[in-house]
Amino acid sequence: MAGKDDEYERKQSRDISRRRFLKGAGLTALSMANLSEAQAAKEASAAIRGPGATAVTLRVNNAVHNLQVEPCETLAETLRTQLGMTGTKVSCDRGTCSACTVWLDGATMCACMTLTVDVQDRAVTTIEGLAQDGKLHPVQEAFIEKDATMCGFCTPGMVMSCAALLARNSSPTLDDVREATCGNFCRCGTYPKVFAATLAAAGKGVK
């Protein structure tokens, strides 16, 4: 009865996540302020989510959103349809092309393979949140400078992968950039310029 076991496991992990979520909510004044007590109580008592829409609180680009999502809704869907953040693209919808790359707590993740209910209290950063105070991220600037975008459909995901690389490695080699983008498909063929742009951005001293 593999199905049952799966279900059991899923429930277990949900319960653990639920606890982590509440703990996080308790510790974060901002989250707490946005989570009504009644809702929190309801959330706490709900051991199993779904099949209908369920309440979640998402932290995207430092803003908090209280939303109703179906348990099967992916983060990419939520971002795109509920929050209107269409910079995160969906191309394969099954974790192959990385067009949907976002950061969860700073690490790259395919938003098409991440369920919104599983995001919980983790910080989501999307392409819309990469520029700070109206100033482009150095990778974004370098992409424009070197013409690392053509049709541009892969570009947000590409930028998120390259910016994440620079966040963990301020002086990457060409091979590091290849490694960081080897999951990002670009049918227009911007790769040579993506490499050049990322290395150039690193040269500018990205933290």
């Binding site: 179906e70 099967c72 795109r80 349809t81 209107g84 953040m85 269409t86 910079g87 995160t88 693209k89 969906v90 191309s91 394969c92 919808d93 099954r94 192959t96 092309c97 067009a99 999307t126 392409i127 819309e128 990469l130 520029a131 482009l136 974004q140 992409f143 424009i144 400078e145 013409d147 975008t149 053509m150 049709c151 541009g152 459909f153 892969c154 570009t155 947000p156 930028v159 950039v177 290849r178 490694e179 983008t181 080897c182 999951g183 990002n184 498909f185 670009c186 049918r187 227009c188 063929g189 911007t190 790769y191 040579p192 310029k193 993506v194 490499f195």
Partner: protein, 812 residues
């Protein structure tokens, strides 16, 4: 003037109006043989542009105007648009490759939550059609079950019904409740099986199919026997010549092989799709298309609507590569659903639909035979090719064998084989990469056998001056001198170098117009329905206007991709830049003349004595000046507007009013490493020498050349669609099992961009999209042969084929 040119000029195709003037325009290759030529042009043509070195904006690397929107995620593609009250459409597709539909029941599906509209697909587009009434009637009898009125299914994935619901998920779930009763029919998927006399017929009689703005389709009226249509013996650039029999009799040696190329899926990141908003008898379409205006015309025709009731908008577009023309089955479904539901309907393919039912580059088999003298002179070429575009026509292999080299005797025949597979369509330089893969390997083999250097032989047998220069400069950049004799490298990993060349015609779309506006605050806007499919035409149009009006590209607002603006060209066949930029320059020139008229009284100077520079209108000799902003305030109305259309090519056309003189030539060099133990090919370096007339934005041109080379590499080594013969099902309908070139396989690409002047239009620019992919696979194949001393005649060059070739060649 060539013979053809004289003829064209003689026929009076030079200009429509009798009033002409003579101008002197640059001609030749910059740095090599630049000269001037006189052209008679209409009176209203702008003055000739000097070479790029004397210009301020054109020819200078210019950042994309929309780069900021693209890197911040703000650019909105069709897939991103959400309209209020918008529904989501989904299509039910046939699981059978050939079947009669006995019944369809939508009733349960319509009761599902969120469902707002549903309909049965009664018309399938994109495939070939029966030629004559008689067979169409026979087909109709078989095709349509009178109770359902549904077309017969001819491929797995053929649309059967469509549903619109309040969410995408609700629509997808409702599809499961559509009941369809199929009566499966015998089918054939494999090309060779389909050629057998007793093979199940895909169509009941001879077929026809017109091409799209991107190519594809087949010449009308050819014979068809069963599933085999042809022979096609002549194409756009002519047909047989001389006497091949006599030619082969003269030959000292003959190279004869069978070359295979596989299907290539377009795999654009944004799938096909559109949003249809039908209200008050007018239709607004947001589409991921390569041709807003041609799509508008297609929809107006299909739905019997006046053109001015259909508006198509494509602000940003996530890649097409030839596959995105016309309404498509998804588009027709979305429009009907919108009409029925009285709400906007968005219908985008999912990845599986995109990889199975959205077109592909057809596969080909070519039997090519070339005869040559011992000095390498070609005496005869024959080519017989077969290809299948599934249920579509247009699997030809171009004209590389016919036209690349001097050879008095040539003969060819091509056959399209119909199979129960989804329809193929135009893909970047339709036919040419396939054709080059064969002829360029044959020429290389000839060199190997005669002990000639591939560049030297080509210098002798190739009449194209541009390619000669490209070979020369490319060889220097590549360091061709390090090339060793084929198969001389030893060891487990062997290095090889090779080259190949190609060409693409210079097509022009005369239906290219624009409007240019100066607003009374000094702003300048270009308006045209032309769309930017990623090539950077938006930026190039700003450059053209900026050059003419003495402004910066960033001063210009470019509004394109909307059919409320004057009609621009569809983006296929590398026509966009060469078609629309001359119209835009003409408009800018006439706007400038109007500005000078206004300014002349203010500056008390003759209009002829004025120039525009740095946002100012001033006297040529540096006297008085006035800012454009200040002058614009004096406009009697909010804007000053100029409309302009493409002028015919200076000196006329080679054919009709669409084929210009001159070709887009290319030569590419490849350096590869072949692992003789694993069979893997690693490409280290590509040098790509290209010409595209006057280069307007080298930055974007480089990007497009990179893109063509990478698609060529991807096709040469990795891509292949697999269809199960027993079921007709595509077994890799995704992008994890359909291998595309990725970041780790990208070689160093060096570009030699030629600056070429043809003296044919007000900008003298052409496109680069197609030529960039044409010679790549052939260059790699030649480099592989140089490395291991054995030829691989079949694409993709996967490790198994490399190992098999090595075994056969006995060099392991």
């Amino acid at each position: 003037m060539s013979e053809g040119e004289k003829k064209a000029a003689g026929k009076g195709t030079l200009t429509e109006s009798k009033k002409t003037k003579t101008i002197k325009v640059p001609i030749g290759i910059f740095g090599v043989n630049i000269a001037e030529v006189e052209r008679e042009v209409p009176l209203d043509e702008p003055p000739p542009l000097p070479v790029n070195a004397e210009l301020n904006v054109l020819g200078k690397p210019t950042k994309r105007l929309d780069g900021h929107l693209k890197v911040t995620g703000a650019a909105r593609y069709t897939a991103d648009i959400q309209l209020s009250g918008m529904l989501y459409g989904r299509i039910l597709r046939s699981p059978h490759p050939h079947a009669k539909i006995k019944s369809i029941d939508l009733s349960q599906a319509c009761k599902q939550p969120g469902v707002r509209a549903a309909h049965i697909i009664t018309r399938v587009v994109g495939t070939a059609k029966e030629r004559d009434e008689k067979t169409r009637a026979i087909d109709a009898k078989i095709l349509f079950d009178s109770s359902t009125g549904v077309p017969i299914v001819k491929y797995v994935g053929q649309p059967v019904a469509a549903i619109a619901a309040t969410t995408d998920r609700a629509a997808a779930e409702a599809l499961e409740y559509i009941k369809v009763e199929y009566e499966p029919l015998p089918f054939v998927v494999d090309m060779y099986d389909a050629m057998k006399p007793d093979a199940p017929k895909v169509f009941q009689g001879p077929t026809e199919q017109e091409g799209t703005a991107g190519g594809g389709g087949a010449p009308p009226g050819l014979p068809q026997k069963g599933n085999v249509r042809g022979p096609e013996v002549a194409g756009l650039l002519g047909g047989d010549r001389g006497d091949v029999k006599a030619g082969f009799a003269e030959a000292d040696l003959v190279v004869e092989n069978e070359y295979h190329t596989q299907i290539q899926m377009h795999s654009a990141l944004e799938p096909h799709g559109l949003i249809a908003d039908w209200r008050d008898d007018a239709l607004t379409i947001y589409a991921s298309t390569q041709g807003t205006s041609s799509l508008r015309d297609d929809i107006a025709h299909l739905f019997n609507l006046p053109k001015n009731k259909v508006r198509v908008i494509t602000e940003f577009m996530g890649g097409g590569f030839g596959a995105k023309f016309g309404a498509g089955n998804y588009g027709i479904a979305a429009i009907l659903l919108s009409k029925q539901a009285k709400a906007p309907v968005k219908l985008m393919h999912d990845r599986k639909e995109e990889q199975t039912c959205a077109g592909f580059r057809p596969a080909s088999v070519q039997n090519l035979k070339i005869g040559a003298k011992n000095d390498g002179t070609l005496t005869a070429i024959t080519l017989s090719s077969h290809g299948t575009a599934g249920t579509a026509l247009g699997a030809g292999v171009g004209w590389a064998a016919q036209n690349l080299y001097k050879c008095a005797n040539f003969s060819s025949q091509h056959f399209d084989v119909l199979t129960n597979q989804s329809p193929g369509c135009a893909f970047r330089a339709p036919g040419q990469p396939q054709g080059c893969f064969a002829i360029e390997q044959a020429i290389d083999e000839l060199c190997d056998r005669l002990g000639l250097d591939p560049l030297e032989l080509r210098d002798k047998i190739d009449a194209d001056e541009m390619r000669k220069q490209q070979r020369n400069l490319g060889a220097k950049a590549f360091d061709w001198s390090k090339r060793k004799r084929a198969g001389s490298d030893k060891g487990a990993i062997r290095r090889g170098v090779g080259m190949a060349q190609g060409e693409w015609p210079r097509f022009v779309d005369m239906n290219s117009s624009c409007e240019l506006r100066l607003t009374n605050d000094g702003g300048v806007e270009v308006l045209s329905s032309v769309q930017d499919i990623g090539t950077g035409i938006r930026t190039v149009l700003a450059q053209v206007v900026a050059e003419e009006l003495g402004l910066l590209p960033t001063d210009i607002v470019v509004r394109i991709g909307d059919t409320v603006f004057p009609t621009g060209p569809a983006s296929g066949g590398s026509v966009t830049t060469g078609s629309i930029t001359p119209a835009v320059r003409k408009a800018a020139h006439h706007l400038k003349l109007k500005i000078f008229d206004l300014a002349s009284s203010k500056l008390s100077a003759e209009p002829e004595d004025l120039i525009m520079k740095d946002g100012k209108i001033s006297e040529k000799n540096g006297g008085n000046s006035l800012t454009l902003k200040k002058l614009a305030k004096e406009l009697p109305t909010d804007q000053l507007s100029v409309f302009a259309s493409r002028t015919a090519d200076y000196g006329g056309f080679e054919k009709g009013n669409f084929l210009g003189f001159g070709r887009l030539s290319s030569v590419q060099f490849a350096e590869v490493l072949v692992d003789t133990e694993s069979g893997r090919i690693h490409i280290e370096r590509i040098v790509a020498a290209h010409s595209c007339g006057r280069p307007l934005n080298p930055l974007a041109l480089e990007s497009q050349i990179n893109g063509g080379v990478l698609q060529g590499i991807s096709w040469a080594l990795y891509e292949n669609r697999h269809v199960d013969k027993a079921s007709g099902i595509v077994v890799n309908p995704n992008v994890e099992q359909y291998k595309l070139v990725g970041a780790k396989e990208v070689p160093k690409i060096e570009i030699v961009l030629m600056e070429e002047y043809l003296g044919r239009s007000a900008t003298d620019a052409t496109g680069i999209g197609e030529p960039a992919i044409v010679p790549t696979a052939a260059a790699i194949a030649n480099a592989v042969a140089n490395a291991i001393g054995v030829r691989i005649l079949s694409l993709p060059m996967t490790p198994d084929k490399v190992l098999a070739a090595l075994k056969k060649g006995g060099s392991r």
